[in-house]
C-alpha cells in the first residue's frame, strides 16, 4: 500500500457555551480500517444528533462484476479489502459453487478453513494489539504502547505474521491472495512447507493462550447493554465457513433466506448501506460468534477463556477484544490440527461445469457475517451480484452503542473524555470502512 504526503492533520474542533452546548468533531477516525467521521451534538443532558459518517466513495464492486466471467469473481472481490480478502473469496466461491451445484471434497474444505484461519489470525492480531488495546491501556496509539509494553506488541506482530504465512501458504501472497479458485485451489502446498509452518504455529500456542489471559485482565468499562448477536452456527464447528444464520433471539434460517429477515437501506450520512434485522440493529463479529457458539470452542480455548473468570454469553460489548483473543487461540489450535493431518492431493481442485443459476454464500469474516449472492447467465457471466459486508451490518448497532455508552459515561463529562469514549466504542467493533463503502471524522456540538 503506497504512502501519502500529508496535506493536513486530523483534529477535533471544540466549542462549549455556558449552556453546555458542545460541539465535537473527529474529522478522521484513527486506528480504524478506512475513513469515516463521528459527529455528535449534545444539548444539556441530551444527545440531539449522532452520526457515524462513512464518506469513502462508493466502490461499485457489484456493478464492476456484472457482465464479467464467473472466473473473474474471486480475484475481483479479493480487491475489496486488503485485510479480509480471504473472506470475500470464500463467500464468493461458496455462492458460485452453489449456483453450479459443485460439491468440494474434504481436502478442499480443510484447506479453505486453514486459509480462513490465517486471515482471522492476522486480522485479529492487528486489531487487538495495534488498534484496540491502546484505548484500554490509556495510550494514544500503538507506538506509545510499544514503549511501555514491548513484549505485548512483539507478540501481536509475531501472531499477525503467522497469520500472513498461512495465507501465503495457500494464496501465494498475503495481500490479495491469488491461490483460490472455484473447486478448490490452483495448487497444493508442499508437505515440507506445511510441516515447517505447523512447527512454528505449535511453538506459538502458549503465547496465544497467554494472550487470552492477558486480554481478560484489561481494564474495560463495566457496561452492559441489550443487543442481538447474529452469526453462523454449524452443527459441529466453530462458525467460519458454513452453517445457518442464527441469533440469540430465535433467528435460525438458511443463508438463502437472508432477504426475508435482513434489509439494507441508504442513509444520507453514509456511503455504506445500513442493514437491519427485522427493522432493528444487530451485532455481528467475534462477540456475537462467541456468545452463540461457546460450546463449539476447542477445549483448550474454552479452558483459557474460563480462566479469565469472564462469563459468556456477555452483554458487555467491550468483551469483543477478549472474544478476538479467544478466536486467535481457537484458529491457531485448528490450524495446527489441519496442518498436522495434511496430505498432498493429486489435484488441489475438483473440475466443474459452469451453468446458469443463482447461488448464495455466507461465511464469517473476521468482523462478522459476510453474505454474497450471484446470478450467473447462460454465457457463464455474472448477471447480478450482491455483497453485504459485516461493517454495514454493524453500523446501526455502533450508533446505538455510541448513544448508550456516552449517556452511561455522562454527557457532562469533559469533551475530550467524550471524544475518546466515542472513538473507543467505534474501534471496539473493528469496523472495516473501506469494505462497507458502499466511512471517521468526530463533530460534537453541545
Amino acid at each position: 500500500m503506497p504512502l501519502k504526503i500529508a496535506k493536513s492533520g486530523c483534529a477535533g474542533e471544540t466549542a462549549m457555551s455556558a449552556r453546555r452546548n458542545v460541539n465535537i468533531r473527529v474529522p478522521v477516525l484513527a486506528r480504524v480500517e478506512g475513513e469515516g467521521a463521528l459527529e455528535i451534538d449534545i444539548s444539556g443532558d441530551a444527545i440531539t444528533n449522532l452520526k457515524l459518517r462513512i464518506f469513502e466513495p462508493p466502490r461499485y464492486f457489484e456493478k464492476f462484476l456484472e457482465g464479467r466471467s464467473h472466473e473473474d469473481v474471486l480475484d475481483t472481490v479479493a480487491r475489496i479489502c486488503g485485510i479480509c480478502p480471504v473472506a470475500y473469496q470464500m463467500s464468493a466461491v461458496q455462492a458460485l459453487e452453489a449456483a453450479f451445484g459443485v460439491e468440494v471434497d474434504d481436502w478442499v474444505r480443510d484447506a479453505r478453513r486453514l486459509f480462513y484461519c490465517g486471515e482471522w489470525l492476522q486480522s485479529h492480531s492487528l486489531h487487538v494489539h495495534l488498534l484496540a488495546a491502546p484505548d484500554f491501556l490509556g495510550f494514544d496509539n500503538a507506538i506509545a504502547m510499544a514503549a511501555r509494553y514491548p513484549d505485548i506488541v512483539r507478540r501481536g506482530l509475531m501472531l499477525q505474521a503467522l497469520g500472513n504465512e498461512i495465507i501465503r501458504l495457500l494464496g501465494a501472497r498475503s495481500v490479495h491472495p491469488v491461490g483460490a479458485r472455484i473447486g478448490g485451489f490452483w495448487r497444493a502446498p508442499r508437505p515440507d512447507q506445511v510441516e515447517s509452518l505447523a512447527e512454528r504455529l505449535e511453538a506459538a500456542l502458549p503465547q496465544a493462550e497467554a494472550l487470552v489471559v492477558w486480554a481478560g485482565t484489561l481494564p474495560v468499562p463495566d457496561q452492559t447493554q441489550p443487543f442481538t448477536s447474529v452469526c453462523l452456527r454449524h452443527p459441529t464447528e466453530y462458525p467460519m465457513t458454513g452453517g445457518r444464520l442464527v441469533s440469540d433471539r430465535g433467528l435460525d434460517i438458511a443463508i438463502e433466506d437472508f432477504d426475508q429477515h435482513f434489509a439494507e437501506q441508504h442513509v444520507p450520512r453514509s456511503t455504506a448501506l445500513h442493514c437491519l434485522l427485522d427493522g432493528e440493529p444487530y451485532l455481528v463479529g467475534p462477540l456475537a460468534r462467541l456468545n452463540n457458539n461457546f460450546d463449539r470452542l476447542e477445549p483448550r480455548a474454552r479452558t483459557a477463556l474460563e480462566q479469565t473468570g469472564i462469563g459468556f454469553p456477555s452483554a458487555n460489548l467491550y468483551h469483543s477484544l477478549l472474544a478476538r483473543t479467544v478466536e486467535i487461540f481457537q484458529v491457531m489450535l485448528e490450524a495446527v490440527a489441519l496442518l498436522r493431518r495434511y496430505r498432498m492431493p493429486t489435484q488441489a481442485y475438483i473440475d466443474y461445469e459452469p451453468v446458469a443459476g443463482t447461488g448464495c454464500g455466507c461465511t464469517e469474516a473476521p468482523r462478522g457475517v459476510l453474505w454474497h449472492r450471484y446470478e450467473i447467465d447462460s454465457a457463464a457471466a455474472v448477471a447480478s451480484a450482491r455483497i453485504v459486508p459485516p461493517t454495514s451490518q454493524n453500523q446501526a448497532r455502533i450508533e446505538a452503542d455510541l448513544r448508550g455508552s456516552l449517556q452511561a459515561l455522562g454527557l457532562d463529562r469533559p469533551e475530550e473524555e467524550l471524544r475518546r469514549r466515542g472513538e473507543t466504542v467505534i474501534r471496539n467493533y473493528d469496523p472495516c470502512i473501506s469494505c462497507a463503502t458502499h466511512f471517521l471524522t468526530l463533530k460534537l456540538r453541545r
Binding site: 504512502l3 501519502k4 492476522q122 492487528l126 495495534l130 496509539n141 506509545a144 506482530l157 498475503s174
Partner: protein, 171 residues
C-alpha cells in the same frame, strides 16, 4: 538477513505500487550494485508492512526502504529521499488497514529494533493515477518506470558513501 546493509522494496504486483519491487529487481542486475563488496548488502522484496518488515530491519546497520508515495501535489515519477523517522512525520499512509510504514517504523524504534540509519527512497504517484485503471496494470506506468534507473543510482550512491564511511572502522 545477516548482511549489515539491507535494501527493502515494498510493494505489490500492481501498477505504480510495483516500484519498490521493480527497483530491487533491477538493482540485483545493475553493474554498479554488483561492484559493491560481497556479503555487505542484501536485497529483499516485501509485501505489506508487518513484523516481517521489522524482522528484515532488525540488527541491520543501514536499511534502505523503497516505496511508492501518493501525492496530491506532485506528478507521478518524482523521486524523494527521506532520512530518519522525523522526515517521515510529513507522510501519512494511504493504507486503510491500520499498520502503515511510518507507524511500523515508529513501533520499531519504540521496540529498539531499528537500524542506526534508515533511508527511504520513494517515487511519487499522482493521486488521480493511484485511483485510475493504470493502478491495476502489471507494469508501473511510464513515469514511474522512468524513475527506476535514477533511483538505483541514488541508492548505489547511498550504499557507496555508507560503506566508505564504515571502511576505516572495518579496517
Amino acid at each position: 538477513l545477516s548482511t549489515p546493509i539491507r535494501v527493502l522494496g515494498l510493494g505489490s504486483v500492481q501498477g505504480p505500487d510495483r516500484f519498490g519491487w521493480a527497483v530491487v529487481d533491477a538493482l540485483a542486475e545493475a553493474p554498479a550494485f554488483r561492484e559493491l563488496p560481497q556479503g555487505k548488502v542484501s536485497l529483499h522484496r516485501l509485501e505489506r508492512p508487518d513484523s516481517a518488515t521489522l524482522e528484515a530491519l532488525c540488527d541491520a546497520e543501514l536499511a534502505v526502504l523503497v516505496d511508492a508515495l501518493v501525492s496530491d501535489d506532485a506528478p507521478s515519477g518524482r523521486l524523494l529521499r527521506l532520512e530518519g523517522l522525523n522526515e517521515l512525520a510529513a507522510v501519512h499512509s494511504l493504507s486503510t488497514h491500520g499498520l502503515d510504514l511510518p507507524t511500523l517504523l515508529q513501533i520499531g524504534r519504540a521496540l529498539g529494533e531499528l537500524p542506526r540509519r534508515v533511508i527511504i527512497h520513494a517515487v511519487t504517484i499522482d493521486a488521480t493515477c493511484a485511483l485510475s485503471p493504470e493502478a491495476s496494470r502489471e507494469d508501473p506506468g511510464p513515469a514511474v518506470a522512468a524513475a527506476i534507473s535514477p533511483c538505483i543510482e541514488a541508492i548505489v550512491g547511498d550504499l557507496r558513501s555508507h560503506l566508505a564511511a564504515q571502511a576505516p572502522a572495518d579496517g
